[in-house]
């Protein structure tokens, strides 16, 4: 009996990982919703930038698809306009564009019409030959969330979920609008794609500084021993925006701050800051630990929601000499809207490391400035030998604060007390700063560049997994339930302020105050 053994594919002997960018396999990217805002502002500019920096394989193609009838050339022309307009911190090069444009194709079609998928299959076969994409296909769902399940089921029905190469699908947020709908959507997607092929994107996790949290915690030996309930007094996570809903009033009215930010971005950031160290730095272990942390978050009882969660909505105000409308005055917003534009929540993590340490998360629109950071407030020394000099006199304080700044000045600062020069033991706080952008002068890739590359490479570490999504819905679900049945007296904070007084009261009951970032 003879046994046929297929030789493994040759490993590229010309690779030089110290100098070359990460290896990206050839592939075709099919973008559903290609004429939409996300494609124009983020996806195509990111792909062009990766191409410009030669970080993607030369054997590569993009197939855009949407209902708008267009030829390949018209699609290329439109995308050229968008890329040159929305390219961040990078020059637009006409010659590079010409090469890039040769990799762009367009298939007009409607997600509801089965023949559209046949057209995509034909185009994929065509680019596999012309661009040697090795039949690897990455589908990107940049459509209305209500179309996700339908589009994926059609991909399955047209056998676009299998082939000689790999098949992966990236799904944008929101992933469901509550726990039940998220579970249902997961069930539908799993009929077509295995979990390992599903990439649920949360662009916050692709931000360089969020990734740096892992490097900071697990690459250094000095912080992790302090990273627990014994030394940490509490944690504050802030994601503030100075702008309002900017033309997204219709969408935002349905979503609200809790769904838009806390359920996804900020709960993932919390998990990254507070998770246990993975045993190995790989996708499975990192995501296991994130999921474990989210499962350890205490799920509020309905009666506790008023104590631990605060909703707010901005009202009109004079900001910087200009009259700013309230949320209810924004276009496409119901004048009696009950949607929160601000949310603050106290979470407790019921595990050995964090039991009893409150985590305060707040997010809002029309705040005094745009800032996202995580502040770890350490406990005061056990004996107060010194008093700190402050503007209002001398007092004892909790001096040590570690701030992980995500945007806009990405970096890390550690505040500690130091003796003021001169006679007498007078102390004042000083800050030790690491500034990410200035210490590494090179341009950081945007979150979408990072995440698109990861998906092409097949590294899901920075993508959310089914259990993570469901766990994060689980922790906000009681709040959603209670708020849905509450009557709020909105607006309760003026535009340009740090939120409603109730949020201050929420912290005051634990003996804490919000930082001013």
């Amino acid at each position: 009996m003879s046994v046929l053994v297929q030789a493994p594919p040759e490993v590229n002997p010309l690779q030089d990982p110290l100098r070359f960018e990460r290896r990206v396999p050839p592939c075709a990217i099919v973008i559903f919703g290609a004429s939409g805002d996300l494609s124009k502002r983020k996806l195509l500019p990111s792909l062009y930038r990766l191409f410009y920096e030669r970080r993607i394989s030369p054997d590569f193609a993009v197939i855009g698809s949407s209902r708008t009838p267009m030829s390949d050339d018209q699609f290329r022309e439109r995308m050229k306009e968008s890329v040159s307009k929305f390219l961040e911190e990078a020059p637009f090069d006409e010659d590079v564009w010409k090469s890039f444009a040769q990799c762009l194709f367009y298939v007009p079609g409607d997600l509801n019409v089965p023949s559209s998928y046949d057209d995509i299959r034909s185009k994929l076969a065509e680019v596999e030959k012309s661009h040697r994409t090795a039949d690897n296909v990455l589908f990107y769902l940049s459509t209305q969330p209500s179309h996700y399940a339908e589009a994926i089921l059609e991909l399955g029905a047209h056998q676009l979920n299998t082939g000689k190469g790999w098949r992966r699908v990236i799904i944008e947020k929101p992933f469901g609008h509550d726990l039940q709908s998220a579970r249902k959507l997961n069930d539908e997607i799993h009929k077509v794609f295995d979990e390992s092929a599903i990439y649920r994107i949360d662009h916050y996790l692709g931000k360089e500084t969020v990734q740096n949290i892992l490097a900071f915690r697990f690459g250094n030996g000095i912080f992790e021993p302090l990273w627990n309930r014994r030394y940490v007094d509490h944690i504050q996570i802030t994601a503030a925006e100075s702008i309002g809903v900017e033309g997204r009033g219709g969408y935002y009215q349905e979503a609200g701050a809790l769904r838009d930010m806390i359920q996804n971005h900020l709960s993932q950031v919390m998990a990254t800051v507070m998770m246990e160290p993975p045993t190995v730095f790989d996708a499975t272990n990192v995501r296991d630990e994130r999921a474990k942390l989210l499962r350890a978050v205490r799920v509020m009882k309905h009666e506790d929601v008023p104590k631990y969660a605060v909703a707010g909505q901005y009202g009109p105000a004079l900001v910087g000499g200009q009259q700013v409308p309230g949320f209810r005055q924004e276009p496409s917003v119901d004048p009696d809207s009950q949607t929160e534009t601000y949310a603050a929540v106290t979470f407790f993590i019921d595990n050995w490391r964090w039991a009893g340490t409150p985590v305060y998360i707040r997010t809002g629109k029309r705040m005094p400035k745009r800032v996202t950071d995580i502040a770890i407030q350490f406990k005061a020394p056990p004996l107060g030998l010194f008093q700190q000099e402050t503007k209002t006199g001398l007092r004892e304080v909790r001096p040590n604060l570690l701030v992980l700044r995500i945007q806009p000045e990405e970096g890390i600062s550690l505040r500690f007390l130091s003796k003021s020069p001169g006679s007498g033991m007078r102390l004042r706080p000083v800050s030790m700063d690491f500034n990410y952008g200035s210490s590494f002068g090179e341009r950081s890739p945007t979150a979408y560049e990072t995440l698109l590359l990861d998906a092409m490479i097949g590294d899901p570490t920075l993508y959310t997994r089914q259990d993570m999504v469901e766990a994060s819905w689980q922790i906000v679900q009681p709040i959603l339930d209670v708020w849905a049945n509450s009557k709020f007296y909105f607006p309760n904070y003026p535009a340009g302020s740090w939120g409603p007084k109730a949020a201050d009261d929420m912290l005051a009951q634990q003996g804490h105050v919000w930082r001013i970032p």
Binding site: P9, E10, L14, V24, S57, D59, D433, N435, S439
Partner: protein
């Protein structure tokens, strides 16, 4: 950039000068009541130069490098007109990131030696190395590297090399045989040695390597049995030797070097030949390159002569050993030996 006066290069005085410099920068902070200066240092970068500008261009390059590799920069220059046997001045190289209020500053020491005092720079440097951080020595002192260097020049160079974890040289313009000999001598001292001629090759190597990332391609790399390297200039440059070595190393392919009147200096074309396919990457103009295959694939690239800053930025990111360069170097020695 702030600067101070020139004084005799005693380590203690230099360190005192640095202390004063930071105190004066701190004064500004005190006046403004907020942090205005951030001090950054990730390594000691020593640059020795015998260029006639007295280290000016080396200083400029360090200032550009600090954005990605903040360091304590030490520029060693030689000048018969120096006031003292060894003299120094200290300064801070500062830059303000766009839109930020705080300046990032690195300290820099410039030491100028009279030619006969060159051997004394090593002992002076010992006290000036930033503690607990890597020391990189970028030798732009061509005379001291040359085989015809005087004993004093050699001794001065050796004293600096002894302090360094990594030594960077540039063999551009040297014949490959002389370049490899120079590198072999430095490697024999047990130091990690880098050659910027190898660094220049990254822009050639990466696009070709990417072609073979596709496991589905019909002609695998093992079938490319002939490598042709075309170069400009009369003598084989070290970059051509490295290119031939790197592309032939995995399967010991045959290498031929040809001299052409192409775009230069240095490498003009790399051709990889299999029975069923030929892949060519060549310069097609002063600012463009083309990568094509006989199977119909083609891609154009912009060609830019890489500046020292870009080359050093890449090199400073690799502080340990560089296995790809080790492989190419060993194979280049073999190839030149075979050619003899």
């Amino acid at each position: 950039m702030s600067s101070a006066v020139i004084f005799p290069a005693q380590p203690e005085q230099i360190l005192k000068g640095l202390g004063k410099l930071w105190t004066s920068l701190g004064q500004e902070e005190k006046q403004q009541g907020k942090p205005t200066v951030l001090r950054a240092c990730a390594m000691t970068l020593i640059v020795a130069t015998d260029e006639p500008d007295g280290g000016f261009s080396a200083s400029q390059t360090i200032a550009e490098l600090m954005r990605e590799h903040p360091s304590r920069g030490i520029v060693l220059a030689v000048s018969p007109e120096a006031e003292h046997e060894l003299e120094a001045r200290v300064l801070a190289q500062c830059w303000k990131p766009f839109g930020k209020a705080q300046q990032i500053c690195c300290e820099q020491i410039e030491i100028t030696a009279r030619p006969d005092s060159w051997p004394n720079v090593g002992p002076t440097l010992v006290g000036l190395i930033a503690a607990d951080l890597p020391v990189i020595f970028w030798c732009r002192h061509k005379t001291a590297l040359d085989t015809s260097a005087t004993e004093d020049q050699k001794a001065g160079l050796q004293a600096v090399i002894r302090l360094a974890n990594k030594v960077v040289i540039d063999t551009q313009g040297l014949p490959a045989a002389a370049a490899l000999q120079m590198l072999s001598a430095l490697r024999a001292k047990g130091r990690t040695v880098a050659d910027l001629e190898w660094t220049r090759l990254t822009k050639w190597r990466q696009p070709i390597a990417q072609i073979f990332d596709n496991p589905a391609r019909q002609t695998p790399y093992s079938q490319f049995r002939a490598i042709e390297i075309a170069h400009t200039g009369d003598q084989l440059p070290s970059c051509a030797a490295y290119a031939g070595a790197w592309f032939s190393a995995p399967y010991k392919a045959n290498v031929s070097f040809v001299k052409v009147d192409g775009y230069g200096p240095g490498l003009h074309r790399i051709a990889l030949r299999a029975k069923s396919e030929e892949i060519v990457f060549e310069r097609t103009g002063s600012d463009c390159m083309r990568l094509y295959s006989t199977n119909g694939q083609q891609r154009s690239y912009t060609y830019e002569e890489r500046m020292d800053t870009g080359l050093m930025t890449e090199e400073l990111a690799i502080l340990g050993s560089d296995p790809a360069f080790e492989t190419a170097f060993a194979r280049a020695v073999e190839l030149l030996h075979d050619q003899d």
